[in-house]
Every structure is written in C-alpha cells, then in structure tokens.
C-alpha cells in the first residue's frame, strides 16, 4: 500500500488562501492510511469552513489512480469543481497528478506527503517495505529487503553504527541486518549471506521509463 501523511493544516491554509475549495479523497490507500477517506475529508471540510473558507463539495475517487474511472466520476461534480478556485487532493502523489491531468487546472493542491510502499503493522502504524527499485533481490536476503529497510542500502551486512540491534539513524528502528541475521541463523541458513553481494543493478529501475 502507498503510505501517505497529511500535510500540516497551516501549510495547507497558505496554499489555499481564502478561495473556495473542492476536496478529493481516495477509497484505497489514503482511506486505509486515514489521510483521505470520508472521515478525514469531513474533518478537513469542517476545519476549512471554520477558517471561513467555502468548501463547494467533495468526492472520494475509487481509487484516485484510476484515470478513466476518475474522469467519469468527476463529471458528476462539474458544478462544484467549477465554482471552486482550488482543488485539495487527499490522495497519494499519483492521485494528485491524475486529478490535475483530468481537470487540466493548475490549482490542484497535494494535501498529503507520499512516503513509501509499506505495510499496515497496526492501526495507524505503517512500515516501509519497498522502494520499487525494479529489481527485487529479497530472495538473497532471507526475504527481507535491505534496500528499502536500510538507510544506507547496505547489501553486505550492517554498518558500524548499529547499536543493540537498532539503526543509528533512528533508535526506534530495528536494523534490517539484525532481522536478516536472526532469521537466517534460526533457520540454519546463514550461508545465504556468505557471498559478497554485487552492486545493485539500478538500470532495472523505472527511472528512465514512464510507461509499461
């Protein structure tokens, strides 16, 4: 799932100004992240109205990244959208762009920051699991990803900054190499990380491609 975090309300107010707003949410990731579902949209609507900003309407796209579907759905809100001067999108970075492409306006404001591809650990607790590198190598590391889960992308064991199994960058974060080591050791499979892992093939990433 794409994990997002709502931008600070004050930052959004600076972008919105005093003009009327139409709010767009997403039925999938942003709903599960509690950043752009019905509840969050209504809270946002209320907060904006309390600041004297007119909210012309709102809609939840199903999901925001589905171009053709969004196009059909948004047609039903033509009046509310035309009355609004700003469009606030509570979806991922993809959703923001899909909406702006359909509406062909420049006043689409991203209401969230898109963080990573991750799992829902517990309610409102998310963990990064993938950076979409285009070349999955987890099999060589006991089915854990050292690229997305190590701030230094270490492929040959932990760096020297690890302390009590925790990452030097964030002491609340488990060092992925300790997770890999523990799991492989328990399963008598330490030989998997015996060989020197070769430099990663970043050419397989989608950086130079836009479409598949």
């Amino acid at each position: 799932m794409i994990i997002t975090k709502q931008k600070g309300f004050d930052d959004l107010l600076i972008r919105i100004g005093k003009e009327p707003v139409f709010i767009i949410g997403c039925s999938e990731c942003a709903t599960l992240c509690h950043t752009g579902g019905e509840k969050e949209i209504l809270i946002m609507k209320n907060a904006l109205e309390n600041k004297g900003i007119n909210v012309t309407g709102w809609v939840i796209l199903e999901p925001a990244c589905n171009f053709q579907n969004d196009k059909r759905l948004l047609r039903n809100y033509d009046k509310e959208i035309t009355t609004a001067k700003k469009i606030l999108v509570l979806a991922c970075g993809n959703g923001v762009q899909t909406v702006s492409e359909i509406l062909n306006v420049f006043d689409v404001i991203p209401g969230t920051d898109t963080l990573f591809l991750g799992e829902i650990k517990h309610a409102n607790e998310f963990e990064k699991r993938c950076i979409m590198c285009g070349d999955c190598i987890q099999y060589d590391f006991g089915d854990f990803c050292p690229i997305s889960r190590c701030p230094k992308n270490m492929l040959n064991g932990p760096c020297g900054g690890v302390k009590d199994g925790k990452c030097e960058v964030d002491p609340d974060m488990d060092c992925v190499w300790h997770i890999i080591y523990k799991c492989l050791k328990e399963n008598d499979k330490l030989h998997i990380i015996q060989d020197i892992a070769k430099p990663k093939k970043w050419s397989k990433s989608a950086e130079t491609k836009r479409r598949i």
Binding site: P151, K152, N153, M154, L155, N156, G157, P158, C159, G160, G161, V162, K163, D164, G165, E168, V169, W177, H178, Y181, K185, L190, I193, Q194, I196, A197, K198, P199, K200, W202
Partner: protein, 304 residues
C-alpha cells in the same frame, strides 16, 4: 620487495604500525592542514585524510591528500560511499592514484542526517565491501565495475577498510570482516577502542578464525580531550562503546586533558600486548598536538 606504500612496508615487515588522522579544515585555507601535518610529522607511518567525516562539509579528502603529499608525508585517502556513485568513486580512485596517493580506506560513511546538511540526499550506490572489491579489480584485473577495461594506468593502491569490534552480534561483525578480506582489503582500522575487554573478545574470535594472518589490524585510539567530548562519544557518536569507568575517570578529573592523555596511553599499552594487532590508528579529534607525546610516551618512536 616492491611495496605500494610505506604503510604496506611496515605492516609486511611485521613492525608495529602507527597511523594518525588529519581532519581537513572547514574551509579552503591549506595552511590549516599544513600546520597539522607539521605537528605530527615523524609520529606516524601514514596519515588518514578524512572524507567529510560525520557528514560535515570539509575540504575534500583528495585535496587534503595532495597538500600532505607535497609535504612529503604519506596520506591514506578515506573515501565514503555516502556522497558518490560508482562512477564518481572510480573516477576519484584514478585521480588519487594519479596524484600519488598510495593508500585508500573504503568506508560506507556516517549517515547524512548526522551532519550539517541533513536535507541532502545520500547516494549509497555501493557499500564499503563492494567498493573494496571494485578498487581491487581496478588494481589487479585492470577493469572497472562494469567490466570495461582500464586503458592507461591501473591504480596501484594499498586498500584499507574499517571495522567496529563493538557491534553485536560478534558473529555478524566477524562475518563482515571476513567479507572485507575476501573483497580485497589489505588492512583494517578499527573503531576507537575504549572497552579493551570487549576488543579482546573480538580479537579472540579474529584469531580463532586465523583472520589476523590474512589482514593487518590497526586498533583505533581516540584520546579524550574533555568531559563534553567524552559525553558526546559515549552517548551521541554511533558505534562507540565507552565504558562507565572511563566516563567516571573523565568526570572526576581535575585536569581532563591530562586524564584523557593517560587513559589513551594506558589503552595503547594494553593494545600493544594483544596478539594479532598490527598497530594503532590515532584519531585525535581537534587535538592533533597530543599525538607526538602520546606516540613518544608509548615507546613508538622513532618510526621505522
């Protein structure tokens, strides 16, 4: 025997080696690095020139090496994976070899979030072990990481790496050391040793696998200059294991500099007795002028 560097000669002749760190200045003034070079001249066999250590912008390591070389001192160029991709790393290795650098120490690097540009993007295209292997292949096989051939001049450098004996589990730390040896590292400089007991445990493991016969290990020594620095080392510098008794000594000291000097002397004395340790690596952070007396009082002068 043709040695690549003075450091390689000393280590291969089984003489107890001394290396010392010279941190480049936070500015372009070359006189700062020259002053430090003159201060420590004759006290060590080679001098580490750090590469934006703790992710704080300083004069580049290669420029620092160039200044040191012009003073007829031998540098160890530190090179981190944090700020350069494999193209820039290999290019700098060629450049360093061209200006006369004979030793290169490969490290992954402190994370950029600790430095003075926390908003920067880290590179980490390759890790330190991969970098060691890349430089070894450039030197011994004449090929770049891509497999492309080096056309004019292989970088004939002595390759170093870092190790932290204080990280757990020991088995994983040793595994990484063993990988560094396999990748092609010739010498190791360890994290600063304060906890000699723990260092001994690590060295026991090193010896039990015969790794000290495959690589020269230089134990890190950092003299403590003040209580403030001791606190920083104990609580804020990643990877450092500073035991409570040393902390207490520094806390109670009436003359912290003298106490720090004595603690460092004692640590060097203990390290010299450990089988399989080939030398010491002195990192006197912003206190390079302590190095001559520390080396002299440790009976490590004159240098061979």
């Amino acid at each position: 025997m043709n040695y690549r560097s003075n450091l390689e000669r000393i280590l291969d002749e089984n003489k107890f080696a001394v290396t010392a760190e010279i941190g480049p200045p936070k500015g372009s003034d070359p006189s700062k690095i020259k002053e430090k070079g003159n201060m420590v001249r004759g006290c060590a066999d080679a001098f580490n020139i750090t590469d934006n250590q703790t992710a704080v912008v300083r004069m580049s390591s290669m420029a620092g090496c160039c200044i040191i070389l012009n003073m007829n001192l031998e540098p160890i160029m530190q090179i981190t994976c944090r700020d350069r991709n494999r193209i820039a790393l290999q290019s700098d290795v060629l450049g360093a070899a061209a200006i006369g650098v004979k030793n290169i120490l490969c490290i992954t690097g402190d994370h950029q979030s600790f430095g003075n540009h926390p908003d920067s993007k880290g590179v980490y295209d390759v890790d330190s072990i991969q970098l060691i292997q890349i430089i070894k292949n450039m030197r011994d096989e004449g090929i770049f990481q891509s497999g492309d051939e080096i056309l004019s001049g292989r970088p004939n450098v002595y390759i170093g790496a870092a190790a932290n004996p204080f990280t757990e589990p020991c088995e994983l730390t040793i595994k990484r050391l063993e990988k560094k040896i396999r990748a092609g590292a010739n010498f190791i400089q360890t994290q600063a040793v304060f906890n000699v007991d723990k260092f001994n445990v690590w060295m026991d493991e090193v010896r039990s696998q015969g790794l000290e016969k495959k690589i020269h290990i230089l134990a890190g020594v950092t003299p403590l200059k003040s209580l403030k620095m001791t606190e920083r080392m104990k609580y804020h510098v990643p990877g450092v294991d500073l035991p409570d008794d040393i902390f207490e000594k520094m806390k109670c000291a009436t003359d912290p500099k003298l106490e720090g000097h004595n603690i460092a002397l004692d640590i060097i004395k203990q390290i010299k007795k450990i089988r399989g340790v080939s030398g010491v690596h002195i990192t006197a952070l912003f206190w390079e002028d302590i190095i001559p007396s520390l080396i002299k009082e440790s009976d490590l002068l004159p240098r061979p």
